[in-house]
């Protein structure tokens, strides 16, 4: 009896020890939602006949700071406070000389910054990059003739970064060792002089692969005293490109993927959307330059690029009125900031694409000594261009109900610059 009882106890306990579910291993609390700080990385060039001004536009009040980093240290830092409006910080206030990395700590997510490089006969204007991406594309530059094409790799952060550049030109994939394992020290920037590394290339598609750390890249193209600055962009499959009146030479479509990519170029003309205005194939890790001069008329137009795999799209203009390059936008939004718009002097224009199916009212607001508001209607699928509405403005905003994409154009007679806007994403 005792034997049986004991045996039953042993068996019952063993079965219980086997059958009871194992307690789940302790897990840490769920990961926090990522809420990256509102910062923007800007290319800064001070000296050499050009001066940079950092412009900050904001729809919210708050404090911020503009800092310049060079040689592993902070070269200078200027705090600022802004309400709903714009402020400017000349790079000279940052004690920065040469090509350096600028970091703008914005008052909040409803703010944006831009770099404006102004020389005697040159104007370069581009929005600063809000977030660094591990892979970006840069195209539109070349190293033929006297052109100087530089890639500015900026790392304002405390950790060192490493970058691989994959470049495809008309000669194929370039194998120059200088393009691999580029170390970008913390709080520094590195200039990759493409005209030295790869001289005489007409077409250069650059994929910037950040293998460690955080790096933001911008292109700088100098030609006969003119300058164009434009950002490397994260690849996407839908792009919008407003085109100002007076023409644009080429649209560059590049890809970082290892296969050929099909693309289609749709035209937003005066008559509305013309689908498949052009279509073709982007070679693997390369780019195509689409000559769109024929489409550019006396009126502003816009292009939409759709592709089967992610690409980067850039706009290049070169003429007697100077050299301009900018990247397209992968998003449409009802609210846009155009920091630095109107600061360079000359004549400024805003080009606004309504990519939606309904007409939209675009409210243009200039921030400067005084704020001027203007609200022209933009028909669905069309582009509207209008001149600056205020002298001495340092930023513009575009707000409306539709799917808008704006661009700021500066023309000084000897120089032209294109600058895309910064969307404010609706909550």
């Amino acid at each position: 009896m005792t034997k049986a009882l004991f045996a039953v106890i042993v068996v019952a306990l063993a079965v219980a020890a086997l059958m009871l579910p194992v307690l789940p291993a302790p897990e840490p609390a769920p990961g926090a939602a990522v809420d990256l700080p509102a910062v923007a990385v800007c290319p800064v060039e001070e000296g050499g006949g050009r001066a940079t001004t950092i412009a900050v536009a904001s729809t919210q009040s708050g404090t911020g700071r503009v800092s310049a980093f060079v040689g592993g240290a902070m070269a200078g830092s200027v705090p600022f406070e802004t309400g709903s409006g714009a402020i400017t910080v000349p790079a000279s206030d940052l004690a920065a000389v040469g090509v350096v990395t600028g970091l703008v700590e914005l008052p909040g997510p409803e703010a944006a910054a831009a770099s404006l490089m102004v020389g005697t006969d040159s104007v370069g204007h581009e929005s600063c990059v809000r977030s660094a991406e591990p892979l970006t594309l840069l195209s539109g530059g070349d190293t033929t003739g006297d052109r100087e094409f530089e890639i500015h790799l900026m790392n304002p952060y405390s950790g060192e970064a490493t970058v691989d550049l994959t470049v495809r030109s008309e000669s194929g994939i370039e194998s120059a060792s200088q393009l691999r394992g580029i170390a970008v020290p913390s709080r520094s920037s590195v200039i990759v002089d493409m005209d030295e590394v790869l001289p005489g290339r007409e077409s250069l598609a650059v994929a910037i692969d950040v293998t460690s750390g955080s790096v933001t890249a911008a292109g700088r193209l100098l030609s006969s005293g003119g300058i164009a600055i434009w950002n490397a962009v994260s690849p996407g499959q839908d792009w919008f490109l407003p085109i100002p009146s007076g023409g644009v030479d080429r649209v560059y479509i590049s890809t970082g993927v290892g296969d050929d990519v099909e693309y289609q170029l749709d035209l937003y003309g005066p008559e509305g959307l013309v689908e498949a205005f052009d279509q073709g194939m982007v070679p693997a890790r390369g780019s195509v330059a689409v000559d769109v001069a024929a489409a550019a008329t006396a009126e502003a137009v816009a292009f939409r690029v759709v592709s089967t795999q992610p690409v980067g799209v850039f706009l290049r203009h070169e003429g007697e009125d100077g050299l301009a390059l900018t990247s397209g936008s992968t998003v449409t939004a009802s609210r846009w900031l155009l920091p630095g718009a109107g600061m360079a002097g000359g004549s400024g224009r805003i080009v606004v694409l309504n990519a939606g199916l309904e007409d939209a009212t675009a409210t243009i607001t200039a921030y400067g000594r005084e704020t001027v508001v203007k609200g022209p209607p933009v028909r669905a699928g069309t582009v509207l261009e209008f001149a600056s509405i205020s002298d001495g403005a340092s930023a513009y905003t575009v707000t409306g109900e539709g799917l808008l994409v704006p661009m700021w154009v500066t023309t000084t007679g000897t120089a032209t610059s294109y600058a895309g806007g910064v969307p404010l994403i609706d909550e």
Binding site: F6, L18, A25, P26, P28, A33, S214
Partner: protein, 929 residues
């Protein structure tokens, strides 16, 4: 009967009073009724056959029918003596009128009454085989054999000392495992059935073989000391030659059933190897050669052995158990060699060999071989600790200096994390005491204590099992299961040094609530003192485990046991005072499931435990009760690990209980090794448990993980600024990679450790206070990526360094884009960020800096306040205050000290008083005894 008897000199005892009564009887009075005997004399090279035949002729026994000599002898045989070629032939040709065969070597010189004594006793005892007492010829009655026992491997164990003189101290007829073939009387019918002695064997082995077969055929084998035979020992080296050894191996191969051979042969091989190695240590090569020759010889003769087994099969009447009845436990060979080695060692200190004589008895205990094996396993299991010290990783941190540890234990400041007035884990008190006893050398004390734990665990289990009635080899081996069994392996594998200590102390504490079965001289004061003493240390190491002694006493009673004392178990609960403050201050340690380590025992454990325990539950009462007690504890512990109740304290106790129970099961299962199926299955289960346990010991650190976190984080001290090392914030998605307990962060675990090096008081994190909540907010903000300057956010916590350990965490991606934590390649496999913005741990006005001093802080005196970046508490002096979450004190005294408050702050003092009282009780109890 024999005409040419050749006389030879006999001892004076030929006519002594000790001669058996039968020898004095008339030679022919009853010869007609007496059983007829045929004498078979086997030739031994060099022996005088004539002399042998003369002694046969002089036998007073009158019913000798025939004398046969086996083999080709030189010269003519006396009349009446015939010759036969083989023993088998001689046996086969014996007629039914003969009842007994007396097989005698030609180098044997039996006393005249030897045969009559043999016949008389064999008849009287209804035995089938009787052997004479052998005395060495030419000596003063030195005993050679009185019939022997053997061990399971067939090695003879006579129980005689070298050169032991016959003083008739063994003169009693008794059953023995075997008798020598020098002079044996066997029933004729049985001899014919068994076909006599194996002619391939030497005399002793042949005797063994024949005796075993007689016994398995259902016969009785007895030693007849009244039949005295002087033996010239020309027939072999008294059983020591390799042929003898080979013959004994052949004898067991012939006799045992297959199931017995399945374990005897492998064990026999192991014994041969150990004996060979041990003898080589003693600079003797012959035993190794003998073993080798013996195995090879048997391999060569395996076909004939198999044939012999087949021939014997029809005759076999009973099982091997009958042989086991007459066998000594363990290995005679190993016992002898072990004893010799011990003698040699002890002879260095033991001139008069008093200890050495004791070791002979010692090595005859089967438990001692288990202890030796366990000792070897402990040495192997701890070898790395001998050379490299105890690892500093997981939950295994170095001791603090004894004064600092004592300060913390007696209601001092708990410096874990951002600091707390909560009581430290009571193990800190034990470690400070150990450090103090080891002359303040805390590193050496820790190493010694760790090795001592291993030794204590093995000895403790052996002693406990001994008190519970076990004597087999499993009782010490079970200590290995306690050290590395189902729960201990997991706890110790995660670095829990305290669990290792608690495991080692548990059997001693449990033993103290079991009364000795026979020794009633120990007073209750001593019992109470011992219980208190052990329970205090055990409870300090693992507070919840302090309940186990009472639980074991109660379960034992429920299972029908009688020697456990529930009262003593209740006394052990008094020791809970040592942990009262800690448990009261950190109830989450006892109750919060989320704080568990999350250890999960393999599903093989309950299966192995059940396989070992179930057969035990079906055998005799004593072992059954103990086996079931072990199973209840082990399986209960494993079940508790799966029940969603309790915090890490409960988890620790459950895991250790599982190991403790499994150890008892192993001790029970290996207590009596035999081929009885239930015991065999239980033993197999126990071997599986041992094998599973031994696996975690092979790392040489008693299962503790490898690594030295303090060494890795040494840069925090080396690169510290003027304010001294601050804190290191350690982060990992894998909690086991962080030292000690950690807190849950968003998607990872984190904790702060002292930049000067972690110590044992930092193992557990005290309950969260305002500073910890502020740090948690800061960590959450950093993890969200919203903070561009995380270093500035961590600066108020004196965090000099952030270390992200192990696999990639989302935080690494986020820290790529920040401005003030400087990635510094100081560690391989971890990311280290320096925080230049960090504040000093203790700073005041005008750049005044203090450093840690004991359990407090100190430095130059000055005006104003010192900001000390620990959680604010009123227990600090002088002039405690708070700024935000952290402490401020007056800098006027040049030091800040902490004294805890509340009634439980006296609990550690009460525990210390109890400790002293326990020592006093033991002392008083012994004095009264």
């Amino acid at each position: 009967m024999l005409s040419d008897a050749v006389r030879f000199t006999m001892s004076y005892r030929m006519t002594s009073a000790s001669a058996p009564h039968v020898a004095e009887e008339p030679t022919t009075a009853s010869s007609l009724d007496a059983p007829h005997v045929k004498v078979i004399v086997t030739l031994v090279e060099g022996a005088d056959l004539g002399a042998a035949l003369a002694t046969v002729d002089r036998q007073v026994y009158g019913a000798i029918r025939e004398v046969v000599v086996i083999g080709e002898a030189n010269g003519e045989l006396p009349s009446g003596v015939t010759r036969t070629a083989t023993l088998e032939e001689a046996i086969a040709s014996t007629g039914p009128e003969v009842e007994y065969l007396w097989i005698l070597h030609s180098d044997a010189r039996p006393r005249p009454d030897a045969l009559s004594a043999l016949v008389s006793e064999v008849e009287r005892n209804e035995a089938s085989l009787g052997g004479s007492k052998l005395l060495l010829a030419g000596t003063r009655d030195e005993l050679e054999s009185i019939g022997s026992a053997t061990d399971v491997f067939g090695d003879p164990y006579s129980g005689l000392d070298e050169g032991e003189i016959d003083l008739q101290q063994y003169d009693v007829v008794r059953e023995v495992a075997f008798v020598s073939s020098v002079s044996m009387l066997v029933r004729r019918d049985l001899a014919q059935g068994l076909r006599g002695l194996d002619d391939r064997m030497e005399p002793v082995a042949a005797g063994l073989d024949f005796s075993q077969r007689v016994r398995l055929a259902g016969g009785q084998v007895i030693s007849v000391p009244s039949s005295e035979v002087y033996h010239q020992a020309r027939c072999g080296e008294r059983g020591r030659g390799w042929r003898e050894q080979a013959g004994r191996l052949r004898a067991i191969l012939k006799a045992y059933r297959l199931i017995t051979l399945l374990w005897v042969v492998p064990f026999g091989l192991v014994v041969s190897v150990i004996d060979s190695l041990a003898n080589l240590l003693l600079l003797r090569w012959r035993p190794a050669a003998r073993h080798l020759a013996s195995w090879l010889w048997n391999l060569w003769h395996l076909p004939s052995t198999i044939a012999e087994r087949r021939r014997f099969r029809p005759v076999r009447a009973i099982g091997d158990e009958e042989l086991f009845r007459f066998q000594a436990r363990g290995s005679v060979t190993l016992r002898e060699v072990g004893s010799e080695i011990t003698d040699r060692i002890l002879s260095v200190f033991d001139d008069d060999q008093a200890l050495a004589r004791g070791t002979k008895r010692l090595w005859s205990s089967p438990g001692i071989w288990g202890a030796a094996l366990a000792g070897v396993a402990v040495i192997v299991g701890a070898w790395s600790i001998f050379f490299s010290g105890v690892p500093n990783t997981g939950f295994s941190f170095p001791f603090e200096p004894p004064s600092v540890g004592a300060d913390r234990f007696f209601a001092g400041w708990n410096d874990s994390g951002l600091g707390s007035p909560d009581a430290v884990h009571p193990a800190v008190g034990v470690t400070s005491l150990v450090s103090f006893l080891w002359f303040g050398l805390e590193g050496a004390a820790r190493t010694v204590a760790t090795i001592l734990f291993a030794v204590l665990a093995v000895i403790g289990m052996g002693r406990l099992a001994g008190r519970l009635g076990f004597r087999g080899p499993g009782r010490y081996l079970s200590g290995l299961v306690l050290l590395a069994g189902p729960g201990t392996a997991l706890l110790v594998g995660s670095g829990s040094w305290m669990a290792l200590g608690a495991a080692a102390l548990l059997p001693w504490t449990v033993r103290s609530v079991f009364l000795h079965p026979t020794d009633r001289t120990r007073s209750w004061l001593t019992h109470a003192g011992l219980v208190l003493l052990w329970a205090l240390i055990l409870t300090a190491m693992s507070p919840v485990l302090g309940l186990v002694p009472l639980a074991v006493a109660v379960v034992w009673r429920l299972l029908g046991g009688s020697r456990s004392s529930v009262v003593l178990g209740l006394v052990s609960l008094v020791a809970g005072v040592v942990a009262a403050a800690f448990i009261n201050d950190d109830r989450g340690w006892l109750l919060e499931l989320d704080r568990r380590l999350g250890i999960t025992a393999s599903e093989w454990w309950p299966i192995a435990i059940a396989v070992a325990a179930l057969p035990i539950s079906l055998i005799e009462a004593r072992t059954r009760r103990l086996g079931v007690l072990g199973a209840v504890l082990a399986l209960g512990g494993l079940i508790a690990l799966r029940i969603p109740f309790g915090g890490p304290g409960v988890e620790e106790a459950a895991a250790l209980l599982a190991s403790f129970g499994a150890a008892i099961v192993v001790a029970a299962a290996l207590d009596d090794l035999s081929a009885e199926p239930r015991r065999l299955i239980a033993a197999l289960g126990a071997v599986v448990i041992l094998a599973l346990s031994a696996g975690s010991l092979v790392n040489g650190r008693l299962g503790l993980p490898d690594g030295d976190d303090n060494d890795e984080l040494g840069f925090a001290s080396t690169l510290a600024g003027e304010g001294g090392p601050g804190r290191v914030l350690m982060i990992s998605v894998d909690r086991s990679l962080l030292p000690g307990e950690s807190r849950s962060g968003p998607g990872f675990w984190y904790r702060t450790v002292d930049g000067a090096g972690t110590t044992i008081d930092e193992v557990w994190m005290p309950e969260s206070r305002s500073g910890d909540e502020a740090l948690d907010s800061a960590v959450n903000r950093i993890a969200s990526g919203a903070e561009l300057r995380p270093g500035s956010l961590l600066a108020p916590f004196a965090i000099d360094w952030v270390v992200i350990v192990g696999a990639e965490s989302p935080l690494q991606e986020i820290l790529v884009s920040q401005l003030d934590l400087v990635p510094t390649p100081l560690l391989t496999g971890s990311e280290v960020y320096g925080n230049p913005a960090a504040r000093p741990l203790a700073s005041g006005d005008d750049g005044l800096l203090w450093a840690r001093r004991g359990a407090g802080f100190g430095g130059a005196a000055g005006p104003g306040l010192m900001s000390i970046l620990v959680n604010a508490s009123d227990g600090w002096r002088p002039d405690p205050g708070s700024e935000d979450w952290h402490l401020t004190v007056s800098a006027a005294d040049g030091s800040a000290t902490f004294t805890g408050g509340g009634y439980l702050s006296y609990a550690p003092y009460a525990a210390a008083a109890l400790f002293l009282a326990a020592l006093a009780l033991i002392g008083v109890g012994r004095a009264r005894r």
